[in-house]
């Protein structure tokens, strides 16, 4: 397998460095959101009414759809603006982190400049589309 040579990335405060830092900080932010969602669920009577699997599903994405199939009697407190903001933050951090990861894979394995540029654009389009679809799901559920 023969691949073309490419210039090494530049050092300093540039897009790649910012995204490198963002990947790490967004990971911490996602841990924080999971802890907030977990604590919130336990305060909202998850202990008596939810299985561990449902609790984890809520912790990963605090969306009321994830509580619909449990024994929670009053779902209204799970649908507040606070949880919608948390869900949108999770969507933003997870989406940007994940699709930037996808971009890293593209940069590593695609040596053709033209295909790499098209895939970069495709990743950006997927990110914008999935964020808009996700926000629609969050605000309508």
């Amino acid at each position: 397998m023969k691949t073309k040579q490419r210039p090494a990335p530049l050092g300093g405060f540039n897009f790649d460095y910012i995204m490198w830092l963002f990947t790490r900080l967004s990971a911490l932010a996602m841990y924080l959101i999971v802890i907030v969602a977990l604590t919130g669920a336990l305060l909202m009577s998850a202990r008596q009414n939810m299985s561990i699997a449902d609790l984890m599903r809520w912790a990963f994405m605090p969306n009321p759809n994830h509580v619909a199939s449990t024994n929670i009697p009053d779902i209204e407190v799970w649908k507040t603006i606070f949880w919608q903001v948390m869900a949108i933050l999770m969507l933003f951090f997870a989406g940007a982190h994940g699709l930037h990861g996808l971009l890293n894979v593209v940069e590593d394995y695609i040596s053709s400049r033209r295909i790499r540029m098209s895939l970069r654009a495709l990743v950006l389009v997927i990110w914008v589309a999935i964020s808009l679809i996700g926000i629609t799901v969050i605000v309508t559920s």
Binding site: Q5, R24, G98
Partner: protein, 129 residues
């Protein structure tokens, strides 16, 4: 200066990177799995709310409710989260990189019991117990 990356597949497979290389590969496979899973799941959540796409949305979600899929995705999601935390800690406090191998052992000690319990619960409920 050019970045040379002309390593063939067989040569790459012979590379004995051991522990750190294994976490790197699992992290990458896991990341891709999560991107595909979460992306399709968001799409399915959207489709399930609309009459024209409800069947497709429910079909995609039924894959995720299958216990075999859960055994697979939970392995990678949990590994990606724990390994990611190790990477964050070692990258933000670079002095700790000296203890990378110990950190990887610690990571497996955290991962295995959590995954073991989850595996037990998933398989037991998957087999109808």
């Amino acid at each position: 200066m050019g970045l040379k990356r002309n390593v063939g597949l067989m040569e790459a497979l012979r590379y004995q990177g051991k522990g750190p290389m294994l976490t790197y590969i699992l992290h990458r496979i896991g990341g891709l799995s999560i991107v595909i899973f979460v992306g399709l799941h968001i799409l399915a959540g959207y489709l399930a709310n609309h009459a024209w796409g409800a069947n497709l949305g429910i079909f995609i979600n039924s894959i995720y409710e299958n216990w075999l899929f859960q055994v697979f995705i939970f392995f990678f999601a949990l590994f990606h989260a724990i390994n990611g935390l190790r990477i964050v800690i070692l990258d933000l406090w670079p002095k700790l990189i000296e203890y990378q191998r110990e950190a990887i052992w610690l990571e497996w000690f955290v991962f295995l019991p959590i995954y073991g319990i989850a595996l037990f619960v998933i398989v037991r409920s998957g087999l109808g117990g």
